[in-house]
């Protein structure tokens, strides 16, 4: 298991390095001189030359990449063009808000989705199954930003059950502010996970070892909840791991609609003001988040499935 974990994180690091390098080169390939954008059209040539040298933009591209990685190792993502603050500090200030939002969404949507899917699979082609299917499909079809706007309108403005904007203070305040955004971006995942679990469960329930468990008189509830679900959950874990990436992009909508601080809002704000170091920094952290979550999903799978552990 330890060997597997080491290997998997080694792979994750490799993926991260490739992704960051590509991203670095892509940003450099974008036409336009970042120095001119930063300093504006009225800057003097001396000023431009000084900033170019400061940002090492006069160096060859491979040297720039090395400098970038050198800084990265020391946790230095550059300097915010406008405030002059460290990008690392700004990004890590916003990161927890997004992280809580994503984890909150995953937590409720996975719990409900797995329960619905397992229940539907245990009673295939019954009325309950059909109702679950209809609900799941409509959940999947609902775009996150529409759900965000509607839930804001209904639950925050009309019913006034939950606060409309911001991230709140203290544990309960934060939780209170988390409900609507997490609901909005998690809703389609409930449907998605429910469909996935149902399909996966039905497949597992048809396998011989389930018949064996039943032939030994093991209680049907235990057969479904332990013997089948433990296997049916494996693809769901992988999908959730990859889904973190999608949730990062849904989080952008939720953070804008609910005026929540967070990585998504930070990226949007920085792009509109062409604050490239912050864009670069937040995208890098998001990529890191994505790579880590897929690696974690694989590790959880290896923990749940002994076959995966010994496979490689």
């Amino acid at each position: 298991m330890l060997l597997y974990a080491t290997r998997r994180f080694g792979l994750a690091l490799l993926i991260l390095i490739v992704a960051v390098t590509v991203m670095f080169l892509m940003i450099r390939a974008v036409p336009g001189d970042p120095v001119q954008i930063m300093l504006g059209p009225r800057a003097t040539p001396e000023l431009q030359a000084r900033l170019t040298a400061e940002l090492a933009l006069d160096q060859p591209i491979w040297k720039q990449l090395l400098i970038f990685y050198g800084n990265l190792m020391q946790g230095d993502l550059g300097i915010d063009v406008f405030s002059g603050r460290s990008v690392t500090a700004i990004v890590f200030e916003q990161l927890p808000h997004t992280l809580w939002l994503i984890l909150g969404s995953i937590a409720w949507s996975a719990t409900l989705g797995i329960a619905l899917g397992a229940y539907a699979a245990a009673h295939p082609n019954t009325l309950i199954d059909r109702i679950t299917a209809a609900i799941s499909v409509s959940f999947v079809a609902a775009p996150a930003f529409v759900v965000a706007l509607l839930s804001l309108l209904i639950f925050a403005v009309n019913l006034q059950w939950f606060p409309a904007i911001g991230a709140g203070e203290g544990f309960w305040g934060r939780l209170d502010h988390l409900v609507l955004p997490a609901f909005a971006i998690g809703l389609s995942w409930v449907g998605y996970i429910a469909r996935l679990v149902r399909a996966s469960m039905l497949e597992v329930m048809g396998e011989s070892h389930i018949r064996t468990a039943r032939a030994f008189g093991i209680h049907e509830r235990r057969v479904v909840m332990v013997y089948a679900l433990r296997i049916a959950i494996l693809p769901v874990v992988t999908v959730i791991g990859v889904g973190m990436g999608f949730l990062l992009s849904s989080a952008v909508f939720a953070e804008i609609v609910f005026a929540r601080p967070g990585l998504g809002k930070l990226v949007i704000d920085s792009i509109t003001t062409r604050n490239y170091p912050i864009v670069m920094g937040s995208v890098l952290i998001s990529t890191g988040l994505f790579v880590v979550s897929t690696a974690l999903a694989d590790l959880i799978n290896a923990w749940l499935d002994p076959r995966a552990r010994t496979a490689k």
Partner: protein
């Protein structure tokens, strides 16, 4: 008879399909006595699997029991509430399935699964583990305590089937159903498993319903044999009787086709020409008629009844009726 354990009495089972009812089992009757080994032999699709799942009542949702009874210790299993039926499974009636590679849960350790199936026992977890290890030892798994922590994929096919046998015998059942337990294994392992089954049968004194299409194994192991064809019993009786004096052409052909029986070098292995009739659309008369080289006009119009020829030897063929043969 007081020593009868399992009686299958005129059992007919259909599968409801879009093409109409598939008559998977028709009028099956035979019995298994206490401590006896009964073999069931027949081609693929002859209804062996349907028969087993009907006994355990682990049937597909489209299964319909049309008539007959499955009596176990005098009690009709088909009428039993699900709860009571579940209490029999893995306790009084156990089963070893065909494919050892698929029969265990891949994500739970063998020990976990062997402890789980002792769910009716009040013993502590440590006692259950000890019992599981003892059973593994009894089927010849070396170092059983350590191997309890391992997962199914860490065992070979032969070992997995021995584990399956250990699990089935752990509750000391009265009836063990073995559904082609050696089909997925190679020949040397087959002998090992059969010998092990024989030893354990002596030790636990349970009855075995042994399903196979390997005649050699049936002849070796069983006391009595039931020959099935296309969902019906065509012949049944004492193993020696059946093998030395088969009374149904199908049984004869089956014995001729067994590779173990072929004495001369043959370029082409013998087969029974023709196909099994469509169970959704059965022809009238004898089901084996189209493939039988001794078919008579009568076979096309009248279904031959399963009649007793000698003590315990039954066959369903018009050739055994003097007046019909003439």
């Amino acid at each position: 008879m007081t020593d009868t354990l399992l009686e299958i009495d005129r059992l007919s089972v259909d599968y409801e399909t879009a093409r109409g009812d598939l008559k998977a089992l028709r009028d099956i009757s035979f019995d298994v006595r206490k401590g006896e080994i009964v073999g069931i032999v027949g081609e693929s699709g002859c209804g062996k699997s349907t028969l087993i799942s009907s006994i355990l009542r682990l049937t597909a949702p489209n299964t319909r029991f049309r008539q007959g009874e499955v009596r176990f210790k005098g009690q009709d299993l088909l009428q039993l509430p699900e709860r009571q039926m579940r209490n029999l499974r893995g306790a009084d009636i156990s089963i070893v399935f065909q494919d050892p590679m698929q029969t265990h849960n891949p994500v739970l350790s063998i020990g976990q699964q062997m402890v789980d199936i002792q769910h009716r026992s009040k013993a502590s977890k440590a006692e259950k583990r000890a019992r599981a290890a003892k059973m593994l030892g009894a089927v010849g798994i070396p170092d059983p305590e350590a191997r309890l922590a391992q997962f199914p994929h860490e065992f070979s096919g032969g070992m997995r089937q021995r584990i399956a046998i250990a699990m089935a015998l752990m509750s000391e059942p009265d009836l063990l159903i073995a559904d082609e337990p050696t089909t997925a294994l190679d020949a040397t392992l087959e002998v090992q498993i059969i010998e092990r089954l024989q030893e354990l049968q002596q030790e636990f004194n349970c009855a075995i319903l042994f399903i196979s299409h390997h005649l050699g194994v049936i002849a070796e192991l069983c006391d009595r044999v039931v020959v099935m064809y296309a969902g019906a019993v065509v012949e049944s009786g004492d193993v020696r009787e059946i093998f030395h004096d088969p009374k149904h052409p199908y049984t004869r052909r089956l014995i001729d086709c067994d590779p173990g029986h072929i004495k001369e070098r043959a370029r082409v292995l013998p087969t029974i020409p023709g196909e099994v009739p469509d169970l959704a659309n059965l022809p009238g008369g004898c089901i084996f008629r189209d493939r039988c080289d001794q078919a008579m006009p009568r076979c096309a119009s009248h279904v031959p009844p399963l009649i007793q020829l000698k003590d315990g030897h039954h066959a369903a063929c018009w050739l055994n009726h003097k007046e019909a043969a003439e």
